[in-house]
Protein backbone atom coordinates (compact mmCIF):
# COMPACT_ATOMS: atom_id res chain seq x y z
CA UNK A 1 0.00 0.00 0.00
CA UNK A 2 1.43 3.35 -1.02
CA UNK A 3 0.87 6.57 0.93
CA UNK A 4 -1.37 7.71 -1.91
CA UNK A 5 -3.60 4.69 -1.51
CA UNK A 6 -3.83 5.24 2.22
CA UNK A 7 -4.77 8.83 1.52
CA UNK A 8 -7.41 7.72 -0.96
CA UNK A 9 -8.95 5.31 1.53
CA UNK A 10 -8.87 8.00 4.20
CA UNK A 11 -10.69 10.37 1.86
CA UNK A 12 -13.28 7.70 1.08
CA UNK A 13 -13.89 7.17 4.77
CA UNK A 14 -14.03 10.90 5.49
CA UNK A 15 -16.67 11.34 2.79
CA UNK A 16 -18.75 8.49 4.20
CA UNK A 17 -17.83 7.68 7.80
CA UNK A 18 -20.38 4.86 7.84
CA UNK A 19 -18.80 3.03 4.92
CA UNK A 20 -16.78 -0.15 5.12
CA UNK A 21 -13.69 1.60 3.81
CA UNK A 22 -12.37 1.53 7.35
CA UNK A 23 -11.56 -2.16 6.96
CA UNK A 24 -9.16 -1.67 4.06
CA UNK A 25 -7.80 1.51 5.60
CA UNK A 26 -7.06 -0.13 8.96
CA UNK A 27 -5.27 -2.96 7.19
CA UNK A 28 -3.32 -0.55 5.02
CA UNK A 29 -2.22 1.44 8.04
CA UNK A 30 -1.20 -1.77 9.77
CA UNK A 31 0.92 -2.85 6.83
CA UNK A 32 2.53 0.58 6.78
CA UNK A 33 3.45 0.13 10.44
CA UNK A 34 1.10 2.84 11.68
CA UNK A 35 -0.37 0.60 14.32
CA UNK A 36 -1.87 3.23 16.63
CA UNK A 37 -3.81 4.77 13.78
CA UNK A 38 -4.78 1.36 12.46
CA UNK A 39 -6.19 0.48 15.87
CA UNK A 40 -8.16 3.73 16.10
CA UNK A 41 -9.64 3.30 12.64
CA UNK A 42 -10.60 -0.33 13.25
CA UNK A 43 -12.20 0.32 16.64
CA UNK A 44 -14.11 3.33 15.37
CA UNK A 45 -15.38 1.38 12.39
CA UNK A 46 -16.48 -1.52 14.57
CA UNK A 47 -18.66 0.82 16.60
CA UNK A 48 -20.87 1.10 13.53
CA UNK A 49 -20.29 -2.36 12.11
CA UNK A 50 -19.92 -4.60 15.14
CA UNK A 51 -20.99 -7.71 13.24
CA UNK A 52 -18.56 -7.53 10.29
CA UNK A 53 -16.36 -10.59 10.50
CA UNK A 54 -13.71 -9.07 8.20
CA UNK A 55 -13.44 -6.03 10.46
CA UNK A 56 -12.75 -8.22 13.47
CA UNK A 57 -10.18 -10.11 11.41
CA UNK A 58 -8.33 -6.89 10.60
CA UNK A 59 -8.49 -5.80 14.22
CA UNK A 60 -7.00 -9.14 15.25
CA UNK A 61 -4.06 -8.55 12.89
CA UNK A 62 -3.55 -5.09 14.30
CA UNK A 63 -3.47 -6.47 17.83
CA UNK A 64 -1.08 -9.20 16.69
CA UNK A 65 1.31 -6.67 15.22
CA UNK A 66 1.06 -4.60 18.39
CA UNK A 67 1.96 -7.66 20.44
CA UNK A 68 -1.43 -7.78 22.17
CA UNK A 69 -1.83 -11.48 21.64
CA UNK A 70 -4.76 -12.09 23.98
CA UNK A 71 -6.78 -9.40 22.25
CA UNK A 72 -5.81 -10.78 18.86
CA UNK A 73 -7.12 -14.16 19.96
CA UNK A 74 -10.37 -12.57 21.20
CA UNK A 75 -10.94 -10.91 17.86
CA UNK A 76 -10.28 -14.06 15.88
CA UNK A 77 -12.65 -15.96 18.14
CA UNK A 78 -15.27 -13.29 17.39
CA UNK A 79 -14.49 -13.59 13.68
CA UNK A 80 -15.19 -17.31 13.80
CA UNK A 81 -18.44 -16.74 15.65
CA UNK A 82 -19.53 -14.38 12.91
CA UNK A 83 -18.14 -16.43 10.03
CA UNK A 84 -17.82 -20.10 10.81
CA UNK A 85 -14.74 -21.59 9.17
CA UNK A 86 -13.05 -18.26 8.50
CA UNK A 87 -9.68 -19.47 7.27
CA UNK A 88 -7.40 -16.61 8.37
CA UNK A 89 -8.98 -16.68 11.83
CA UNK A 90 -8.34 -20.40 12.16
CA UNK A 91 -4.75 -19.92 11.09
CA UNK A 92 -4.31 -16.96 13.38
CA UNK A 93 -5.61 -18.86 16.38
CA UNK A 94 -3.45 -21.81 15.41
CA UNK A 95 -0.40 -19.58 15.29
CA UNK A 96 -1.17 -18.01 18.66
CA UNK A 97 -1.72 -21.41 20.24
CA UNK A 98 1.56 -22.62 18.74
CA UNK A 99 3.34 -19.61 20.10
CA UNK A 100 1.98 -20.10 23.59
CA UNK A 101 3.01 -23.76 23.52
CA UNK A 102 -0.52 -25.16 23.31
CA UNK A 103 0.24 -27.60 20.49
CA UNK A 104 -3.02 -29.51 20.81
CA UNK A 105 -5.06 -26.39 20.27
CA UNK A 106 -2.75 -25.36 17.44
CA UNK A 107 -3.27 -28.77 15.84
CA UNK A 108 -7.06 -28.45 16.13
CA UNK A 109 -7.11 -25.00 14.56
CA UNK A 110 -4.74 -25.83 11.71
CA UNK A 111 -6.48 -29.13 11.05
CA UNK A 112 -9.74 -27.24 10.63
CA UNK A 113 -7.97 -24.80 8.32
CA UNK A 114 -6.47 -27.57 6.19
CA UNK A 115 -9.87 -29.22 5.85
CA UNK A 116 -11.17 -26.00 4.35
CA UNK A 117 -8.21 -25.45 2.05
CA UNK A 118 -6.07 -28.54 1.60
CA UNK A 119 -3.97 -26.81 -1.07
CA UNK A 120 -2.39 -24.40 1.42
CA UNK A 121 1.13 -25.77 1.64
CA UNK A 122 2.09 -23.59 4.58
CA UNK A 123 -0.74 -24.87 6.74
CA UNK A 124 -0.16 -28.46 5.74
CA UNK A 125 3.53 -28.25 6.56
CA UNK A 126 3.00 -26.52 9.89
CA UNK A 127 0.33 -29.05 10.80
CA UNK A 128 2.63 -31.95 9.98
CA UNK A 129 5.35 -30.41 12.09
CA UNK A 130 3.04 -29.97 15.06
CA UNK A 131 1.80 -33.53 14.74
CA UNK A 132 5.33 -34.80 14.61
CA UNK A 133 6.04 -32.98 17.83
CA UNK A 134 2.91 -34.39 19.40
CA UNK A 135 3.72 -37.83 18.11
CA UNK A 136 0.66 -38.01 15.87
CA UNK A 137 2.33 -37.59 12.46
CA UNK A 138 0.44 -40.56 10.99
CA UNK A 139 -2.94 -38.91 11.43
CA UNK A 140 -2.34 -36.17 8.87
CA UNK A 141 -5.20 -36.31 6.33
CA UNK A 142 -2.93 -35.02 3.56
CA UNK A 143 -0.12 -37.49 4.31
CA UNK A 144 2.37 -34.69 5.01
CA UNK A 145 5.91 -35.81 5.51
CA UNK A 146 6.56 -33.37 8.38
CA UNK A 147 9.45 -31.66 6.63
CA UNK A 148 11.06 -28.84 8.53
CA UNK A 149 11.34 -26.30 5.79
CA UNK A 150 10.05 -23.56 8.10
CA UNK A 151 7.25 -22.51 5.77
CA UNK A 152 4.58 -20.83 7.84
CA UNK A 153 0.82 -21.15 7.53
CA UNK A 154 -0.30 -18.16 5.55
CA UNK A 155 -2.66 -15.62 7.10
CA UNK A 156 -3.14 -12.59 4.87
CA UNK A 157 -6.22 -12.56 2.67
CA UNK A 158 -5.80 -11.65 -0.94
CA UNK A 159 -8.47 -9.16 -1.95
CA UNK A 160 -9.44 -11.19 -5.00
CA UNK A 161 -10.01 -14.33 -2.97
CA UNK A 162 -11.76 -13.00 0.12
CA UNK A 163 -14.94 -14.88 -0.75
CA UNK A 164 -13.09 -18.18 -0.30
CA UNK A 165 -11.09 -16.94 2.70
CA UNK A 166 -7.89 -18.11 1.01
CA UNK A 167 -4.73 -16.55 2.44
CA UNK A 168 -1.57 -15.25 0.80
CA UNK A 169 1.96 -14.88 2.06
CA UNK A 170 2.06 -13.35 5.53
CA UNK A 171 4.40 -10.64 6.72
CA UNK A 172 7.96 -11.90 7.32
CA UNK A 173 7.69 -11.43 11.08
CA UNK A 174 4.79 -13.86 11.35
CA UNK A 175 6.48 -16.38 9.08
CA UNK A 176 9.60 -16.26 11.21
CA UNK A 177 7.67 -16.66 14.43
CA UNK A 178 5.87 -19.82 13.37
CA UNK A 179 9.05 -21.36 11.99
CA UNK A 180 10.82 -20.82 15.29
CA UNK A 181 8.28 -20.59 18.08
CA UNK A 182 9.37 -18.58 21.10
CA UNK A 183 10.18 -20.75 24.10
CA UNK A 184 7.97 -20.42 27.12
CA UNK A 185 9.67 -17.69 29.12
CA UNK A 186 7.15 -17.41 31.93
CA UNK A 187 7.75 -19.96 34.66
CA UNK A 188 4.12 -19.97 35.68
CA UNK A 189 3.11 -20.98 32.15
CA UNK A 190 5.73 -23.73 31.97
CA UNK A 191 4.83 -25.00 35.41
CA UNK A 192 1.12 -25.25 34.61
CA UNK A 193 1.57 -27.06 31.31
CA UNK A 194 0.50 -30.68 31.50
CA UNK A 195 -2.21 -32.02 33.82
CA UNK A 196 -4.55 -29.25 34.96
CA UNK A 197 -4.07 -28.48 38.64
CA UNK A 198 -7.41 -27.30 40.00
CA UNK A 199 -5.87 -26.49 43.36
CA UNK A 200 -3.44 -24.13 41.67
CA UNK A 201 -6.39 -22.39 40.02
CA UNK A 202 -7.86 -21.58 43.39
CA UNK A 203 -4.69 -19.86 44.59
CA UNK A 204 -3.78 -18.44 41.18
CA UNK A 205 -3.93 -14.83 42.33
CA UNK A 206 -2.62 -15.34 45.84
CA UNK A 207 0.83 -13.93 45.10
CA UNK A 208 -0.66 -10.79 43.54
CA UNK A 209 -2.87 -10.10 46.54
CA UNK A 210 -0.41 -11.13 49.23
CA UNK A 211 -0.06 -8.43 51.84
CA UNK A 212 -3.48 -6.94 51.03
CA UNK A 213 -5.88 -8.07 53.72
CA UNK A 214 -9.57 -8.28 52.97
CA UNK A 215 -8.93 -8.78 49.26
CA UNK A 216 -10.30 -11.23 46.72
CA UNK A 217 -9.85 -12.09 43.06
CA UNK A 218 -11.87 -14.31 40.74
CA UNK A 219 -11.76 -15.50 37.16
CA UNK A 220 -15.26 -16.40 35.97
CA UNK A 221 -16.34 -17.96 32.71
CA UNK A 222 -19.17 -16.58 30.56
CA UNK A 223 -21.72 -18.50 32.62
CA UNK A 224 -20.40 -17.15 35.92
CA UNK A 225 -18.71 -20.42 36.90
CA UNK A 226 -15.50 -19.99 38.85
CA UNK A 227 -12.39 -20.83 36.86
CA UNK A 228 -9.79 -19.59 39.30
CA UNK A 229 -9.36 -17.52 42.43
CA UNK A 230 -11.61 -17.26 45.44
CA UNK A 231 -13.73 -14.78 47.33
CA UNK A 232 -13.99 -15.44 51.04
CA UNK A 233 -16.41 -13.52 53.25
CA UNK A 234 -15.41 -11.95 56.55
CA UNK A 235 -17.10 -14.84 58.35
CA UNK A 236 -14.84 -17.28 56.51
CA UNK A 237 -17.53 -18.55 54.15
CA UNK A 238 -16.68 -19.07 50.50
CA UNK A 239 -18.76 -16.69 48.42
CA UNK A 240 -17.04 -17.44 45.10
CA UNK A 241 -19.86 -19.40 43.51
CA UNK A 242 -22.56 -16.97 44.65
CA UNK A 243 -20.66 -13.96 43.36
CA UNK A 244 -20.04 -15.75 40.08
CA UNK A 245 -23.73 -16.62 39.75
CA UNK A 246 -24.77 -12.98 40.15
CA UNK A 247 -22.20 -11.82 37.62
CA UNK A 248 -22.94 -14.45 34.96
CA UNK A 249 -23.04 -12.83 31.56
CA UNK A 250 -21.96 -9.41 32.81
CA UNK A 251 -19.10 -9.21 30.36
CA UNK A 252 -21.33 -9.70 27.35
CA UNK A 253 -23.99 -7.39 28.77
CA UNK A 254 -21.48 -4.62 29.39
CA UNK A 255 -20.13 -4.97 25.87
CA UNK A 256 -23.60 -4.80 24.33
CA UNK A 257 -24.49 -1.76 26.43
CA UNK A 258 -21.45 0.17 25.33
CA UNK A 259 -21.70 -0.80 21.68
CA UNK A 260 -25.34 0.26 21.79
CA UNK A 261 -24.33 3.61 23.22
CA UNK A 262 -21.54 4.05 20.71
CA UNK A 263 -18.93 4.38 23.44
CA UNK A 264 -16.65 1.72 21.99
CA UNK A 265 -14.94 -1.28 23.44
CA UNK A 266 -15.49 -2.15 27.07
CA UNK A 267 -12.42 -1.74 29.23
CA UNK A 268 -13.19 -2.00 32.94
CA UNK A 269 -16.00 -1.79 35.42
CA UNK A 270 -15.48 -0.25 38.83
CA UNK A 271 -17.90 -0.73 41.68
CA UNK A 272 -17.83 1.25 44.90
CA UNK A 273 -19.47 -0.65 47.72
CA UNK A 274 -19.86 0.11 51.39
CA UNK A 275 -16.93 -2.09 52.37
CA UNK A 276 -14.98 -2.70 49.19
CA UNK A 277 -13.68 -1.30 45.95
CA UNK A 278 -14.20 -3.78 43.13
CA UNK A 279 -12.66 -3.77 39.69
CA UNK A 280 -13.74 -5.98 36.81
CA UNK A 281 -12.41 -6.51 33.32
CA UNK A 282 -13.27 -8.64 30.34
CA UNK A 283 -11.21 -11.77 29.66
CA UNK A 284 -11.22 -14.07 26.59
CA UNK A 285 -14.46 -15.80 25.60
CA UNK A 286 -16.63 -13.40 27.63
CA UNK A 287 -14.92 -14.48 30.81
CA UNK A 288 -14.59 -11.94 33.61
CA UNK A 289 -11.86 -11.12 36.10
CA UNK A 290 -12.70 -9.43 39.37
CA UNK A 291 -10.57 -8.02 42.11
CA UNK A 292 -11.95 -6.67 45.38
CA UNK A 293 -10.00 -4.58 47.84
CA UNK A 294 -10.81 -2.74 51.06
CA UNK A 295 -12.96 0.38 50.69
CA UNK A 296 -10.14 2.80 51.43
CA UNK A 297 -7.90 1.46 48.63
CA UNK A 298 -7.00 4.19 46.10
CA UNK A 299 -8.75 3.71 42.77
CA UNK A 300 -5.45 3.70 40.90
CA UNK A 301 -4.18 0.81 42.97
CA UNK A 302 -7.35 -1.15 42.29
CA UNK A 303 -6.79 -0.60 38.58
CA UNK A 304 -3.16 -1.68 38.86
CA UNK A 305 -4.00 -4.95 40.59
CA UNK A 306 -6.86 -5.56 38.19
CA UNK A 307 -4.39 -5.38 35.31
CA UNK A 308 -2.12 -7.91 36.96
CA UNK A 309 -4.97 -10.26 37.76
CA UNK A 310 -6.19 -9.98 34.16
CA UNK A 311 -2.76 -10.81 32.72
CA UNK A 312 -2.36 -13.79 35.05
CA UNK A 313 -5.87 -15.01 34.27
CA UNK A 314 -5.30 -14.79 30.52
CA UNK A 315 -2.03 -16.71 30.68
CA UNK A 316 -3.63 -19.38 32.79
CA UNK A 317 -6.57 -19.73 30.39
CA UNK A 318 -4.17 -20.14 27.46
CA UNK A 319 -2.39 -22.97 29.19
CA UNK A 320 -5.40 -24.95 30.35
CA UNK A 321 -7.43 -24.80 27.10
Amino acid sequence: MTPDEIRRLSDDLARDPGSLAFIALADALRRAGQLDQALRVALRGLERHAYRFDAHDVLARVYLDRGELARAADEWETTLQLSDGHLPALKGLGYLAYRSGDLRRAERCLRAASEIDASDAGTVTALARIRETLGTAGSSPTGGDGTRNGVAPTMESDASQRSRHVATTPPPRFREEVASPAPAKDESVAAIRGPIDAARGRTLFASILSGTSGSAALLLDADGLVLAGECVRVDGGDASAEVGAELAGVSGEARRALVHLGLGEWRTMHVEAEQAMIGMASAPDDALVLVALPRETPAGFVRLLLGRVLDTGREWLNTVR
Binding site: R233, L247, L263, R267, V271
Partner: protein
Protein backbone atom coordinates in the same frame (compact mmCIF):
# COMPACT_ATOMS: atom_id res chain seq x y z
CA UNK B 1 -29.98 18.52 20.06
CA UNK B 2 -31.57 17.21 23.24
CA UNK B 3 -34.56 15.01 23.59
CA UNK B 4 -36.80 15.49 26.57
CA UNK B 5 -39.12 13.10 28.26
CA UNK B 6 -41.87 14.32 30.58
CA UNK B 7 -40.24 14.50 33.97
CA UNK B 8 -41.73 14.66 37.39
CA UNK B 9 -40.45 17.67 39.23
CA UNK B 10 -39.00 15.31 41.80
CA UNK B 11 -36.34 14.08 39.37
CA UNK B 12 -36.17 16.97 36.96
CA UNK B 13 -33.77 18.90 39.14
CA UNK B 14 -31.49 15.91 39.68
CA UNK B 15 -31.28 15.11 36.00
CA UNK B 16 -31.04 18.74 34.94
CA UNK B 17 -28.04 19.30 37.18
CA UNK B 18 -26.24 16.30 35.71
CA UNK B 19 -26.77 17.04 32.01
CA UNK B 20 -25.20 20.46 32.52
CA UNK B 21 -21.85 18.77 33.10
CA UNK B 22 -19.53 18.80 30.11
CA UNK B 23 -19.60 15.56 28.15
CA UNK B 24 -22.84 14.21 29.61
CA UNK B 25 -25.09 12.97 26.81
CA UNK B 26 -27.79 11.28 28.86
CA UNK B 27 -29.14 11.17 32.38
CA UNK B 28 -32.15 9.24 33.53
CA UNK B 29 -33.90 7.71 36.50
CA UNK B 30 -35.19 4.17 36.13
CA UNK B 31 -36.68 1.39 38.17
CA UNK B 32 -34.00 -1.09 39.19
CA UNK B 33 -36.48 -3.93 39.35
CA UNK B 34 -37.84 -3.76 35.80
CA UNK B 35 -35.48 -1.37 34.02
CA UNK B 36 -38.19 1.05 32.93
CA UNK B 37 -37.26 4.70 32.55
CA UNK B 38 -39.14 7.08 34.83
CA UNK B 39 -37.58 10.36 33.81
CA UNK B 40 -34.87 11.16 31.32
CA UNK B 41 -32.99 13.79 29.41
CA UNK B 42 -30.91 12.45 26.54
CA UNK B 43 -29.29 13.65 23.37
CA UNK B 44 -30.88 12.52 20.13
CA UNK B 45 -29.61 9.10 19.20
CA UNK B 46 -29.42 7.75 22.74
CA UNK B 47 -32.13 5.14 23.17
CA UNK B 48 -33.57 5.90 26.55
CA UNK B 49 -35.48 2.64 27.05
CA UNK B 50 -32.55 0.41 26.14
CA UNK B 51 -30.21 2.45 28.31
CA UNK B 52 -32.59 2.19 31.27
CA UNK B 53 -32.91 -1.58 30.87
CA UNK B 54 -29.18 -2.22 30.44
CA UNK B 55 -28.14 0.15 33.21
CA UNK B 56 -30.63 -1.23 35.71
CA UNK B 57 -29.59 -4.79 34.92
CA UNK B 58 -25.88 -4.09 35.38
CA UNK B 59 -26.49 -2.27 38.64
CA UNK B 60 -28.69 -5.06 39.98
CA UNK B 61 -26.06 -7.68 39.18
CA UNK B 62 -23.35 -5.67 40.90
CA UNK B 63 -25.58 -5.03 43.92
CA UNK B 64 -26.47 -8.71 44.37
CA UNK B 65 -22.86 -9.81 43.87
CA UNK B 66 -21.71 -7.34 46.53
CA UNK B 67 -24.32 -8.61 48.96
CA UNK B 68 -23.26 -12.20 48.32
CA UNK B 69 -19.62 -11.31 48.93
CA UNK B 70 -20.38 -9.39 52.10
CA UNK B 71 -19.23 -6.08 50.64
CA UNK B 72 -22.31 -4.20 51.80
CA UNK B 73 -24.47 -1.80 49.85
CA UNK B 74 -23.50 -0.67 46.37
CA UNK B 75 -22.86 3.03 45.93
CA UNK B 76 -21.71 3.46 42.36
CA UNK B 77 -21.01 1.40 39.26
CA UNK B 78 -18.82 2.90 36.56
CA UNK B 79 -18.22 1.26 33.21
CA UNK B 80 -15.18 2.56 31.33
CA UNK B 81 -15.13 2.31 27.56
CA UNK B 82 -12.86 3.52 24.79
CA UNK B 83 -14.88 6.70 24.23
CA UNK B 84 -16.72 7.41 27.45
CA UNK B 85 -18.22 6.11 30.65
CA UNK B 86 -21.51 4.79 31.95
CA UNK B 87 -22.33 5.62 35.58
CA UNK B 88 -25.06 3.95 37.61
CA UNK B 89 -25.97 4.79 41.19
CA UNK B 90 -28.89 3.44 43.14
CA UNK B 91 -31.09 4.20 46.09
CA UNK B 92 -33.99 2.02 47.12
CA UNK B 93 -35.78 0.78 44.02
CA UNK B 94 -34.40 3.48 41.75
CA UNK B 95 -31.23 3.88 39.75
CA UNK B 96 -29.67 7.01 38.35
CA UNK B 97 -27.92 6.39 35.04
CA UNK B 98 -25.55 8.83 33.36
CA UNK B 99 -23.69 8.50 30.06
CA UNK B 100 -20.63 10.65 29.53
CA UNK B 101 -18.42 10.87 26.49
CA UNK B 102 -14.68 11.48 26.50
CA UNK B 103 -13.80 14.89 27.86
CA UNK B 104 -16.11 14.71 30.84
CA UNK B 105 -14.60 15.47 34.22
CA UNK B 106 -14.97 12.04 35.77
CA UNK B 107 -14.14 13.15 39.29
CA UNK B 108 -16.69 15.98 39.37
CA UNK B 109 -19.28 13.84 37.69
CA UNK B 110 -18.80 11.05 40.19
CA UNK B 111 -19.47 13.39 43.09
CA UNK B 112 -22.47 14.92 41.33
CA UNK B 113 -23.96 11.51 40.61
CA UNK B 114 -23.53 10.33 44.18
CA UNK B 115 -25.27 13.48 45.40
CA UNK B 116 -28.00 12.94 42.85
CA UNK B 117 -28.58 9.35 43.95
CA UNK B 118 -28.84 10.43 47.58
CA UNK B 119 -31.64 12.79 46.55
CA UNK B 120 -33.66 9.99 44.96
CA UNK B 121 -36.76 9.22 47.01
Amino acid sequence: MVEYRPMTSAYGEIIGALVRHRGVVAALVASERDGIAIAAQTQVGVECDALAALGASLYRRARLANLAAGFGTTRLVRLDAAHGQLFIAGRGDLVLIVVAEGGANVGLLRVAIQRGSEALA
